[in-house]
Subunit: 320 residues, 2 copies
């Protein structure tokens, strides 16, 4: 009987889930709204019923090996979502305990969405066969998953790999975390918007963004404007690559990975972001690391990476 | 028969070696000069003969499980010392191949001196039983060894864990590595001297160092002056702790260790360095990491840490 894993990606707006085979192909999938359920028990009951329904349609044809969940601030050790700023749940939410009461699989595991994406890259994507790599997710925020010696780095408390919150610019931009200068205030979708506005203020070059409000600006528009030759947009990508490249150089001095994968909205800008990031990264690296570390686009499908990764986590636990 | 390991610490001036039991106690020990042997084959022959002599005195009483070597820029995977700036050897030196021709042990391994110290802390010292910790060596330079999931982080190329060369101050002080602003230009024994000279230039406070030349100043003198109340010396320790604490906060965002151990000359300043480092580290940490990570003094004997650590590496390989 074909073995499959269930992957769940709990996001700020939607929660998506799917039944996935060993190659990362979907057998079936579904989604529910996350935000309409501020009480986690109501949300989790709805989620579990939706998954039961999905299972019931195929349970005669497959063997389900387990469930993996990816969620912001998901803690691998505790199986809890802890104080996630982008979710409505308050405090510490015991996701895994709840699922274990509903389902009887040996493997039921949780991690944060960036770690899940890293696991997906390792099991299904471009990091197959790599023992040491870093996944950087450039979305609304910046997340990361670090793999060392073939295993996920969870750290002592399950919260390792928050590269979005290393300090890129001392006393720099205010971050949602309450501090200043975090990497994600520069290299996220919001970060590049902030850079555009800083450049509009600092410089006198014409730009199509001189008629656009902050709230109306998107990173996609910056991408398109850069391709049309807008100088402010091009400078914004260069600056974003500079900050990202410099901090990747520091990250390399920690774990010396074989490759760094970029994932998420900004990564889809292709050369616009990869070229300056690689250039500044190499320029910033200590000699012993130069021209060794690959900077690669993630091979996971954009919308499904965390869900696929969550299922990959289940596969990884099942195999070990 | 009692099992013992041989530890070798190749330093810029002296190479020390010892036969060490499982508790980290020495059976016997010796040393030779490193610097008088620019040709590595002459140096290595002398070293191997010295070790043979040590072995011959006790070989009837003990079983030798292997040899561990710690050296600057020592590469675990290749068994080579590669372009070490503080050693006279040129290029890539195949240390382990040389030793394997002289000795017939199953375990003959090399790593850099900071990784060796981390291994020593794990096997004999304060990190016993810890799976995730970081060792920071505050000597002439700054080195580090990172342990994740109970294993040393060597990285893809064997060169992981160079926290002395993360950028502490963008466009900051010139480093021996050719770049600017590296952590070790601020928090090493030389770094704190540079800070004293910066403060003497910037401020008008009286200080006993106003009569001391750069070459005559030592970190030990800064320690003693701070204890006597010298305001420049006290400010220098505070600033050193600030820079170190901030970068430890970034390191924690990578691997989320249970503890960080400080080792080396500056660490022996005790509260003078630990208090500000801890204070700024906590202040700089992302919320989820606050008040969780211990900042501890190494429990290894200062002069013998890398040698003990090298023997610990042999024990670790022997057991695995």
């Amino acid at each position: 009987m074909k073995q499959v894993a269930i992957g769940i990606d709990i996001g700020g707006t939607n929660t998506i889930f799917g039944i996935v085979d060993k190659n990362g192909d979907f057998i079936s999938r579904g989604s529910i709204k996350t935000e309409t359920h501020p009480d986690y028990t109501i949300f989790m009951s709805t989620l579990c019923r939706s998954i039961e329904k999905l299972i019931s349609e195929i349970e005669d044809e497959v063997e389900i090996i387990g469930i993996g969940v990816g969620a912001p601030n998901g803690n691998y050790y505790n199986g809890t979502i802890e104080f996630a700023p982008n979710l409505n749940f308050e405090g510490v939410v015991p996701i895994i305990d709840f699922i274990k009461k509903q389902f009887n699989f040996n493997v039921i595991v949780l991690t944060n969405d960036a770690n899940a994406a890293a696991m997906g890259e390792m099991i299904y994507g471009g990091a197959k066969g790599m023992n040491d790599f870093i996944m950087i997710t450039l979305g609304t925020g910046v997340g990361s998953g670090i793999v060392v010696n073939g295993g996920m780095v969870y750290g002592h408390d399950g919260f390792a790999g928050e590269l979005g919150h290393v300090i890129a610019v001392p006393e720099g931009r205010i971050c949602g975390c309450g501090r200043r200068g975090c990497l994600e205030t520069y290299t996220s979708a919001n970060g590049i918007k902030r850079t555009v506005f800083e450049l509009l203020a600092d410089r006198i070059d014409p730009s199509e963004f001189r008629n656009v409000s902050y709230n109306n600006l998107s990173s996609k528009m910056i991408d398109q404007a850069a391709r049309r030759g807008d100088i402010i947009a091009k400078m914004a990508f260069d600056y974003t690559g500079k900050i990202l490249g410099e901090k990747l150089a520091d990250a390399i001095a920690h774990t010396s990975p074989e490759a760094i994968f970029l994932f998420g909205g900004l990564a889809q800008a292709g050369d616009l972001i990869f070229e300056p990031t690689k250039r500044y990264m190499e320029k910033s690296l200590l000699n012993i690391y130069k021209n060794k570390v690959k900077l690669l686009p993630s091979q996971l499908p954009p919308g499904d990476a965390a869900m696929l990764g969550a299922s990959a986590l289940a596969w990884k636990e099942f195999q070990s």
